[in-house]
């Protein structure tokens, strides 16, 4: 479904991603792990069209999408839950969701709003509240609910548990598991490497802009030596930076 072929992405003179190659097949859940600054967010943002790679190609369902507008990619069936959630704080929960359904017909949008209200009781309780007043866990659920409004074929998630309390991390992982059970294709970037690798079918390990290891989720998770070599002994327990929201 997604075919990332040797992409290199630069910020000015800094190369954040170096000839990274990665595939996601339909129905698969793929984890992308690695230390801070490895280029995980850069990879997702390049796929989603926020960044333009300086070389390489991205293909989605066979069509080349390198350098396409994010808005066009949403219409093609690709949605990103961005790092730090980036919900619209001045908009209500309902407005956030309605906007995320901008690509759908008004009939589909109404139906998905009802589905979202059912799937996320936390959000239903705050339907008309400005999203700026949501707690971290609620905001993250809104960010995921928002991405689902376009009914994407491929869902990209960037650090969905960043800055959340442990009980809320459980809530988000339960959500990911239920999305997986529904057969959603997902590419997930996570700090909780062990946990996400147990959830995923396959995984990639990214370090200083390069893909350095790949395998099934279980293989990567089991290979503790590899982890300690690249990430350090405290893998899976990185202390996340304080939540800016």
């Amino acid at each position: 479904m997604l075919d990332v072929d040797q992409i290199t992405t630069r910020y000015g003179a800094v190369t954040a991603l170096h000839e990274a190659t990665l595939q996601v097949a339909a129905g698969e859940v793929v984890a992308l792990v690695g230390p801070n600054g490895a280029g995980k967010t850069t990879l997702l943002n390049t796929v989603a069209g926020l960044l333009r790679p300086s070389s390489g190609q991205v293909r989605f369902e066979g069509a080349t999408i390198t350098g396409s507008e994010p808005a066009a990619l949403v219409r093609a069936g690709l949605a990103l839950v961005p790092e730090h959630r980036r919900i619209f704080r001045d908009l209500t929960v309902e407005e956030n969701l309605r906007l995320a359904g901008v690509t759908a017909t008004s009939h589909d949008r109404r139906e998905r709003l009802l589905e979202a209200a059912e799937l996320f009781p936390v959000l239903r309780a705050k339907w008309a509240v400005s999203a700026g007043y949501l707690s971290g866990g609620e905001a993250q659920q809104l960010a995921v609910a928002r991405a689902l409004m376009s009914n994407p074929k491929l869902l990209l998630l960037d650090e969905p548990t960043l800055g959340l309390a442990p009980t809320l991390v459980d809530v988000i992982f339960d959500l990911l598991a239920s999305l997986r059970a529904q057969g959603r294709t997902m590419l997930v970037v996570e700090q909780n490497a062990q946990r996400v690798l147990h959830l995923a079918d396959r995984g990639y390990l990214l370090r200083t802009g390069r893909i350095v290891a790949t395998g099934t989720g279980a293989e990567l998770a089991a290979n503790t030596n590899l982890f300690e070599a690249f990430i350090g002994a405290d893998h899976g327990a990185f202390s996340p930076p304080p939540d800016p929201a």
């Binding site: 994010p70 949605a79 995320a100 901008v102």
Partner: protein, 298 residues
């Protein structure tokens, strides 16, 4: 009391015109981080359009509709021709681009029509008055306040209820996140310019009914007041723009009505006081009435 009420209505009348213009400025600042100094030129465009329409049998009954449509197109045109190409440039480049457009517009009217004022007829009822109790009101003041109220109500509904309005508000807060939701950048910016054009045209009609004449540089004075009103309200805040506009109009009306008369240039004296008050306001609250945390300032 009579004088107070009349001044109040007078101030609200001018202030609501400022509010409509300030709303356009704040709207475009929201989606593009541009303080659009060419916004006042939409008044000039409207004025010359009035002049030409009157040469060909124009009437105040239908012209406002034509003006609204033309100003919306003109506003979208400036985006298409000028601002789109520098969208990702620094705010300073955007600002200079808008200055260039403003100057270009002045020059084009001077060369293409005339540096001199071109007058046209005003509606016959404009300076009619009516009295309630002992207070005398101008019909035009009431029309101005009424038209502004209706326009503001429509604006509120558009930005609260429609997909376009929600897209603009989302884009103003986080443009990239809005793109990730599927909002098309070109469309939302173009739409914001069109809407700002409509608001400017409504303001222009109200201005031109009172003083029916076209001049190449007529937009600049209004623009200055509108930018001030938008900044007083807190650039990027819709409510702030309306409050800023009304506050500026009331301040002008009351200083003009109540300050002692100076032998020469009594008007200028009140303008001076207005600017001193505004300067003092910014010392106390540099971010404006409403602080928009997400918008970066130029």
């Amino acid at each position: 009391m009579t004088k107070f009420l009349q001044t109040l209505v007078d101030g609200l009348g001018v202030g609501s015109t400022y509010a409509l213009l300030a709303l356009g400025i704040t709207l475009i600042f929201g989606v593009m981080h541009l303080v659009n100094f060419a916004h006042g030129e939409l008044i000039t465009v409207s004025a010359y359009l009035c002049y030409f329409l009157f040469l060909h049998g124009g009437s105040w009954w239908w012209m406002p509709l034509v003006i609204v449509g033309a100003a919306a197109l003109a506003s979208m045109g400036t985006e298409l021709v000028a601002f789109r190409w520098v969208r990702n440039a620094s705010p300073f480049t955007l600002l200079l681009t808008s200055f260039a457009l403003e100057r270009l517009s002045h020059a084009l009217w001077q060369i293409g029509v005339s540096p001199k004022q071109r007058a046209f007829p005003k509606p016959t009822w404009v300076f009619n008055t009516f009295t309630i109790g002992s207070v005398r009101f101008e019909v035009m003041d009431v029309v101005t306040i009424g038209v502004t109220l209706i326009t503001l109500l429509i604006t509120a509904v558009v930005f609260k209820r429609t997909m376009f309005g929600i897209s603009v508000r989302a884009a103003a807060e986080d443009f990239d996140a809005a793109r990730l939701m599927g909002v098309r950048a070109n469309r939302v910016i173009s739409g914001a310019f069109a809407f700002a054009g409509v608001l400017a045209a409504v303001a222009a009609c109200l201005i031109l009914m009172r003083s029916p004449a076209a001049e190449p540089a007529m937009g600049s004075d209004w623009l200055l007041k509108a930018v001030l009103a938008a900044v007083i309200g807190g650039l990027g805040s819709f409510t702030g723009a309306v409050i800023g506009g009304l506050a500026l109009g009331l301040l002008e009306a009351f200083t003009r009505a109540y300050l002692p008369e100076v032998a020469t240039g009594f008007d200028r004296f009140s303008t001076g006081v207005v600017f001193i008050v505004i300067a003092a306001f910014f010392v106390a609250r540099p971010e404006g009435v409403f602080k928009i945390s997400s918008a970066e300032r130029v």
